[in-house]
């Protein structure tokens, strides 16, 4: 069974009056508890794919099957309810939260919206979520801008897992973090995947991180799939020009230990 099956997905924009394809006939599948990496140079359409899969953007063509059902026919309340199972973590954890929010409110919202816990139960749930992502429950009362970038990204992950999703899309979720924090967040993601059997659509341009985390990889070039396959195989011997260029551009690849 697959969690997510994307087929022939296309999204066109207009640039200087003439249309161009940001995502062009892209297909891939993700199984339960599997990590699929999407890599490619800047502007190759990675974020556009993330937004299409999350129904933040409407595709021009293609199909998206999520947990066996057509995601593209959903709208309104049915779509909002479905979103509990399909979550996202953004690149910049500061931009991803309402600047007026507190940690507690950021975590309270998904629990309230999806009726996961009663009002009186929610503070306990919030504390449990914070502890699950390795944070002190006392952080709940803090404003979002009063915690560090690494803590903020952990809160973003806690928010994403609050509704027990089967898939989390991570768009450059560790790129803005410094190296030591990045390692801890990757460990957390691996641990969550093992425990909760969450699948990841992991978008990154960092092949070192991808090799540490991903099972399979899709390489994009100008919106099209240039190459795909087992992550380590592709990174070890890329066949496409983009793949070779990305490997060449990642000098520390050979120094990163694989778990």
């Amino acid at each position: 069974m697959t969690v997510l099956a994307v087929s022939n997905l296309s999204k066109r924009y207009r640039r200087g009056g003439k249309p161009f394809a940001a995502v062009d006939d892209v297909s891939f599948e993700i199984g339960p508890a599997e990590t699929l990496a999407v890599a490619g140079p800047s502007g190759s359409g990675k974020s556009t794919i993330a937004r299409l899969v999350l129904r933040l953007l409407e595709p021009d063509a293609g199909r998206i099957q999520f947990e066996g059902a057509d995601l593209l026919i959903l709208s309104g309340a049915a779509l909002r309810a479905r979103r509990a199972r399909l979550q996202m973590v953004f690149q910049d954890p500061l931009a991803a939260f309402n600047p007026r929010s507190t940690v507690a409110r950021a975590l309270d919202d998904p629990l309230r919206i999806h009726g996961i816990a009663s009002r009186s139960e929610r503070p306990r749930r919030i504390a449990a979520l914070l502890e699950r992502v390795g944070l002190d429950a006392g952080l709940a009362a803090r404003a979002i801008h009063e915690i560090s970038g690494g803590q903020r990204q952990r809160v973003a992950i806690a928010r994403a897992i609050a509704t027990r999703p089967s898939l989390i899309v991570l768009d450059e979720a560790v790129s803005a973090l410094d190296v030591s924090v990045r390692g801890q967040i990757l460990d957390l993601l691996l641990d969550l995947q093992r425990q909760e059997r969450i699948a990841y659509l992991f978008i990154s341009h960092d092949l070192g991180v991808i090799r540490a985390l991903a099972h399979r990889i899709v390489l994009l070039e100008a919106g099209r799939v240039a190459e795909s396959g087992d992550a380590r195989t592709v990174i070890a011997s890329p066949q496409s020009a983009v793949g070779k260029a990305l490997v060449a551009a990642t000098p520390r690849l050979n120094r990163i230990k694989t778990p």
Binding site: L56, F90, A95, F97, D109, I113, T163
Partner: protein, 276 residues
């Protein structure tokens, strides 16, 4: 605290704040100092100022206490100015947020309505509204707000258009939040600062519009207003010019105070923004 400190750094802001404080004190003190009906006859008609210490500013054509009228007029001016501005800001913020956030047809319709209101001079709009519905405090407030909400609506819409592209709005959609909740709980509060920056100009304009309506006899007849006092005094302008001049000065000072204090607030927040 820091912000307050910065606010009081320009002399204009201090002057504005002092005028406003005085005005508020006057408005609050009016029913205590002059508990009776300010429109009741208090002495001989057209008593000049500084003649009788129980009537320091004298009396008007009908023998009403001018000082009492002035104090009670401050209440009306402030109440109408603040209420009309609050209503205009509220309606403007809601309309602008809906238009900017929903986009498409809703945006198109709401902005055409805003255009329509903006092309009619706001004073004419207020005049027409009060003439049709009849003068009372609530109607005057609504009439003034009717011509004042378009500015806040445009500013709110522009701000919402930029905010709605932010990641946190996408994040709110991802967790399944209802679009109306996103618009009013996530987006609107963050779009408010530039909208609120308009408030001093709107309050000042509202006070002037109220005075103009009263001058034309379209104010609430049961309340003393400065505009009404000026109109009253006009009939005896040659013999007792102060009857028009005194409420006129009160009006000018009030508008000036509101404007200066408002500029001070905008300035101090702008400094804060450029510092951060």
């Amino acid at each position: 605290m820091k912000r307050l400190h910065r606010f009081f750094q320009t002399p204009e802001a201090i002057a504005g704040a002092l005028i406003l404080a005085l005005l508020v004190a006057i408005a609050l003190a009016a029913p205590l100092l002059f508990p009776g009906d300010p429109q009741a006859i208090a002495g001989p008609a057209l008593l000049p100022p500084l003649q009788n210490w129980s009537l320091p500013l004298g009396t008007d054509r009908l023998g009403r206490d001018v000082l009492a009228e002035l104090f009670h007029g401050a209440r009306t001016s402030l109440a109408v100015g603040l209420a009309a501005a609050a209503a205009a800001l509220l309606v403007g913020a809601v309309v602008g947020t809906l238009a900017g956030f929903a986009g498409g047809l809703i945006d198109e319709v709401l902005m055409r309505i805003t255009d329509a209101f903006q092309t009619v001079p706001s004073f004419l709009l207020a005049l027409a509204f009060v003439s049709i519905v009849g003068p009372s405090l609530g109607v005057v407030i609504a009439a003034i707000a009717l011509g004042a909400w378009t500015g806040p609506a445009r500013v709110a819409r522009a701000e919402v258009l930029s905010i709605r592209e932010r990641d946190y709005v996408a994040g709110a959609r991802v967790i399944g939040m209802h679009p109306l909740e996103i618009a009013f709980r996530e987006v609107l509060p963050n779009a408010l600062p530039p909208v609120l920056a308009l408030s001093s100009v709107i309050v000042a304009a509202a006070i002037l519009t109220e005075a103009a309506l009263s001058f034309l006899g379209l104010g609430d007849p049961n309340r003393v207003t400065w505009g009404g006092m000026i109109a009253e005094g006009r009939t005896v302008l040659r013999t007792a010019p102060l009857l028009s001049i005194v409420p006129g000065i009160a009006l000018v000072l009030t508008v000036l105070g509101v404007y200066l204090a408002g500029e001070g607030v905008v300035e101090s927040t702008a400094v804060r923004r450029s510092l951060s």
